[in-house]
């Protein structure tokens, strides 16, 4: 049957229901596009024949192929759109710089989309209120305390806190830091929020 390649693309994403981004399946997309090209050409020649020779019995077949073309288009669009939703979530969970391992799974156009999305978001956030704007990707949980205890999960280097003090984030070291300064590092897995 037609559209088998297209459903494979969809299955591939559906299997990863937790939002992971699998490698962009360029080859899969190409194969679907090729099938579409072939279906379209067959339909064109059948349409011509139906018209010039009055062979209206070809119409069900033409319609059949047209359904397959639409189906392929839908599967590809859904595949691409679902990937965008995953990539969008990355901006909120990782911040604006993505780990190489993830970028490696994105195609050039996706990287372009991501960069544009970052830009739009930054423009929007800058436009909020005063000169600096408001970073709404921070403060994801209601604050319970100003300072929190954190443990360093990997070497991160120097880190400047509010009053200008610089501290060294070394693996396994423990610190008492302003909550809103370290939120993102926690989400990136550099620090761990310790609750005693």
């Amino acid at each position: 049957m037609f559209c088998e390649k297209a459903i494979e693309l969809v299955r591939e994403l559906h299997r990863m229901g937790d939002g992971q981004l699998p490698a962009f399946n360029e080859d899969g997309i190409r194969q679907v596009l090729e099938e579409m090209k072939a279906l379209y050409q067959q339909n064109q020649s059948d349409v011509n024949e139906a018209k010039s020779e009055g062979r209206s019995e070809l119409i069900p077949t033409i319609k059949f192929r047209h359904c397959c073309l639409c189906r392929n288009q839908r599967c590809i669009a859904a595949y691409l759109y679902d990937r965008l939703l995953r990539i969008r979530a990355l901006r909120w969970e990782y911040g604006s710089v993505l780990p190489t391992a993830i970028r490696f799974h994105m195609c050039a156009e996706e990287v372009e989309w991501f960069n544009q999305y970052k830009k739009s978001l930054a423009t929007y956030m800058r436009s909020l209120g005063g000169e600096e704007g408001l970073d709404i990707t921070q403060d994801v949980k209601p604050p319970k305390s100003l300072y929190i205890e954190v443990r360093c999960l990997k070497d991160h280097g120097e880190f400047e806190i509010d009053d200008g003090t610089v501290i060294l984030l070394k693996k396994n070291s423990q610190h008492f830091l302003p909550r809103w300064k370290c939120e993102q590092l926690i989400r990136q897995g550099v620090l761990e929020h310790v609750i005693s």
């Binding site: 939002g19 069900p60 939703l85 609750i195």
Partner: protein, 211 residues
């Protein structure tokens, strides 16, 4: 709960399909018993049992829901569709007797979705199919809800196994709610955590190293 993490396009409600929903695309890939009511010239190669050039009128073949929906027209018949056997009289009687004993995952896994989609095709059984689908859902809902609320940290695979896709989604929502409540009760909801994606990628990296 507010979340900025990945949320897929949800499936459509009732008889609707959402164009971009992966779930709906998989649902519409399910096959239905059909009978061609006109010939389909030059497509014979799709029908494995015959090696004719055309698919002749009156051929019985299984077609995916999306294709059946696309070809189906009330005025100009090219296709008729039969309800699959899990929606016919025999199974309707079983489901009517006790909906809880049936493994809808095996029968589906999109039992409710497919049941609703069948209503797109004219059939004298439509009213009864709709009724059975609705009553089955109502009859099983309580158990699905109870199961999701009473199995924290337990192995839920046996509970989830006989559930259809819609019930599984409800079950997961119930479990997530329960877990969030427990976290709040334990005072841990204020804990800032690494993004689920971060944790997963790290695990995978580890797996790759070990492999």
């Amino acid at each position: 709960m507010e979340t900025q993490s990945y949320t897929p396009v949800p499936p459509g409600v009732g008889m609707e399909e959402n164009f971009l929903s992966l779930d709906d695309i998989l649902l519409s890939h399910e096959r239905l018993p059909c009978r061609t009511e006109s010939a389909f010239p030059r497509l014979g190669f799709l029908e494995k049992s015959a090696d004719t050039r055309d698919i002749p009128e009156g051929t019985k073949m299984e077609m995916p829901l999306w294709l059946a929906k696309g070809l189906y027209e009330r005025k100009r018949r090219t296709l008729s569709v039969d309800p699959p056997k899990t929606y016919r009289q025999g199974w309707r009687t079983v489901l009517g007797a006790d909906p809880n004993v049936v493994d809808l995952h095996k029968m589906g896994p999109y039992f409710y979705g497919m049941g609703s989609q069948l209503l797109h095709f004219d059939s004298p059984e439509n009213a009864e199919i709709a009724q059975t689908v609705l009553q089955t859902f109502i009859g099983r809902f309580r158990r699905t809800m109870d199961a999701s609320q009473n199995a924290l940290d337990a192995d839920t695979s046996a509970l989830v196994a006989p559930l259809d896709a819609l019930e599984r989604a409800l079950f997961r929502a119930g479990q997530a709610g329960l877990a969030a409540y427990q976290r709040w009760e334990g005072g841990a909801s204020g804990r800032i955590e690494a993004s689920g994606l971060v944790v997963n990628y790290r695990k995978r990296k580890l797996g790759e190293l070990q492999a």
